[in-house]
């Protein structure tokens, strides 16, 4: 068996999740020894043809070209992992789905006919089967390393799917919502960030998207009790994972 190959693909995104791979400063050279980085345009001029053992896919699908390209990526990939809120849930650019895309285009471009775009921003799983989804805007570096290590070892990644609250409690942080009445999406948001926002005296804004089976109704009551009106509650859920089914309002 040869060295496994790794490919990194970009769809509609900010590049932050693939940058996370280069942010593994202590592990990068060891990783490059364990896998053959066969295709990673942001980092290398070399492109080795597929198939690939593991593909990391960043970004959502927002153009006709991306609709066909994702099929080709799937065909060439033994394991396909989505990295981040765009690839996993549609990302911030999915907010177009709550508006008129033609109006959006004309607000931004004087000649919209030069710009090919879809009215939707959809996650990769809406188009092809996905083997694993990493959440977060951006993804967490440690979670990325766990997923890569797991697939290289031929095992399943071991990442929790509970809420930010469990992480917050484990860190011994005071609850910002209970103690200070700060609106917080922690009770319904997927864990993985290390409860960063509560640790900085701010409410979670849900950048990791919904946890498994969240109780949204109960949280919405709590948000009202914190003084948010209905429009503010809509905005709270309509950020980086706005079209995730559980968060869609």
């Amino acid at each position: 068996m040869g060295t496994p190959s790794l490919a990194v693909w970009k769809f509609t995104s900010c590049d932050g999740c693939q940058l996370t791979l280069l942010d593994c400063e202590d592990e990068l050279l060891a990783l490059a020894g364990a896998v053959r980085i066969a295709r990673f345009t942001e980092a290398s001029s070399t492109v080795i043809q597929g198939p690939y053992d593991v593909s990391l896919v960043e970004g959502s699908v927002t153009t006709p070209e991306e609709l066909t390209r994702i099929q080709r990526v799937r065909e060439q990939s033994k394991i396909l992992v989505t990295i981040g809120a765009c690839a996993t849930a549609g990302g911030i650019q999915a907010l177009r789905e709550f508006s008129d895309i033609a109006e959006y285009q004309s607000l931004v471009y004087a000649s919209p006919q030069h710009v090919e775009t879809l009215a939707t921003s959809t996650p990769i799983s809406a188009h092809v089967p996905v083997d694993y989804e990493l959440r977060g805007c951006p993804i967490d570096r440690r979670q990325l390393l766990e997923v890569l290590t797991a697939f290289l070892a031929g095992r399943k990644p071991n990442l929790p799917d509970t809420s930010v609250c469990t992480e917050c409690k484990r860190r011994g942080l005071t609850c910002v919502m209970v103690a200070d009445g700060i609106p917080c999406l922690g009770p319904v948001t997927h864990t993985g960030c290390g409860a960063l926002c509560p640790a900085h005296n701010r409410g979670c804004f849900g950048c990791f998207g919904p946890m498994n089976q969240p109780n949204i109704t109960a949280l919405v009551d709590q948000l009202r009790a914190c003084g948010l009106d209905e429009r503010a509650i809509d905005r709270a859920f309509r950020t980086f994972n706005a079209t995730a089914p559980e968060f869609r309002r």
Partner: protein, 430 residues
């Protein structure tokens, strides 16, 4: 070489952030077209910001770019505070500058070591470069890590930090949180100085360009978050007059808009900052620049790697100075009640001038948003470089000229993810 018609193409530019291509068309030995094609899909930030609360643009616009989120957060904060008529405390300003130094260190180290240096040493990427220069790459990664550590210590995480808000921060970091970062930065200063020596030893193609240069300028320090706009052609205007001087327009081959300064192409970024603000560099950064053979201005874009290395020295040195003066403060933010109005904000992102403008309604919701990122401002200058470079090297065969063109683009560290979005247009091109 005697092609009548000749075309140089790169369909996917490597080692740049985002999706771009290069297309140069020659006819009878003359450059007919030189295009940096940006096909990064648009994400419509300026449209989706309408109707959001005035407190939200810092977190939302951070997502325009994973490489320079702090630049977006702080240009947004300044514009909103300007609209609301609030000036933040000197403590907030200093901590913002410190955070921003982290982004400059991280972004410049990424570009110098992982994206740009392989061009000069003849490798396809940094990993391949590591086979013969492992210690050097490890040094670069350590420098990048120090920048990320500073970002994380203040912002919570390096990419899309969570601690920045309109008016200041959610929480001022403790001295204990920052102490280990100061330790890392002290050794990073030596690394940054070694970086200048290293890149100064590279061979640089000859190219001197006459672009007008635009940068934020302040008398008292190398401008990052505060100042007026200055150009090498003698313009000097306050941030609020940015839209009077800079006009963006759409071109068919790009989802990023092109910009002009008073009707002409111009350049922003490290070369512009260095040339316009040389006097404001700290003594150690100036000394490193002089030792590297740079004068008080630099107009060869291939030497931008040396200028970035000098800015690395400056950012580390400045971060150490700010850290030595830092005292935690309470409250960590200034109250910013919403007020109907329009505000402008400009900061120096690692790649150059980043302008934000917001209109805010009486209900505290955003009514209009305009964002002018550095890469869209630089597109016309990049294309002019391509033209000049191709014209001067027509004798080279395609397999040498094409990579040289790709290098000319990488000189500017273009951030294509940033550039494709946006805006209410004032002009169109057929």
């Amino acid at each position: 070489m005697s092609h009548r018609a000749r075309q140089l193409r790169v369909s996917a530019l490597a080692r740049v952030e985002g999706e771009g291509a290069l297309n140069v068309v020659l006819h009878e030995g003359a450059v007919e077209r030189a295009e940096l094609r940006i096909y990064e899909p648009p994400r419509f930030f300026e449209a989706l910001l309408r109707g959001r609360a005035y407190t939200e643009p810092p977190d939302i616009t951070a997502r325009i770019c994973g490489i320079c989120p702090v630049a977006y957060q702080l240009s947004a904060c300044l514009a909103i505070e300007d609209a609301c008529g609030v000036a933040v405390s000197t403590e907030v300003e200093a901590l913002r500058r410190l955070l921003y130094c982290g982004e400059w260190i991280s972004s410049h180290a990424l570009h110098v070591y992982l994206l740009h240096a392989p061009d000069f040493l003849g490798y396809p990427d940094a990993i391949a470069m590591a086979a013969e220069h492992r210690d050097t790459l490890e040094r670069g990664l350590a420098l990048k890590k120090a920048g990320n550590a500073l970002l994380a210590a203040i912002g919570g995480r390096a990419i899309h930090p969570v601690n920045v808000r309109v008016g200041g921060f959610y929480q001022a970091p403790t001295r204990a949180t920052l102490a280990p970062v100061a330790e890392q930065l002290r050794s990073a200063l030596d690394t940054a100085l070694a970086t200048v020596d290293w890149v100064a030893s590279f061979e640089f193609p000859d190219l001197e360009l006459d672009h007008d240069l635009l940068a934020v300028h302040a008398e008292s320090q190398y401008a990052i978050t505060r100042g007026r706009l200055r150009s090498s052609s003698g313009l000097d205007f306050p941030v609020a007059e940015f839209p009077d001087h800079v006009v963006e327009h759409q071109v068919p081959h790009s989802t990023a808009l092109h910009a002009e300064l008073d009707g002409h192409r111009y350049l922003t970024g490290p070369l512009a900052r260095y040339t316009l603000n040389f006097e404001q560099l700290s003594p150690i950064a100036r000394q490193a620049a002089t030792a590297a053979g740079l004068g008080s201005s630099c107009r060869n874009p291939f030497r931008s790697i040396v200028v970035r290395a000098v800015e690395l020295v400056y950012a580390v040195d400045e971060a150490l100075r700010l850290l030595s003066e830092y005292e935690p403060f309470q409250p960590a933010h200034h109250p910013v009640p919403p007020r109907a109005g329009i505000g402008h904000g400009v900061t120096e992102a690692p790649r150059g001038v980043l302008y934000h403008r917001y209109g805010i309604g009486t209900d505290g919701l955003v009514t209009t948003a305009t964002i002018v990122p550095p890469t869209s401002q630089n597109q016309a200058a990049v294309e002019a470089d391509l033209r000049a470079l191709v014209a001067a090297n027509l004798a080279l065969p395609d397999e040498q000229l094409t990579p040289l063109c790709e290098r000319a683009i990488r000189n500017y560290d273009p951030c294509i993810s940033c550039s494709a979005h946006f805006l209410d247009l004032t002009r169109t091109e057929r």
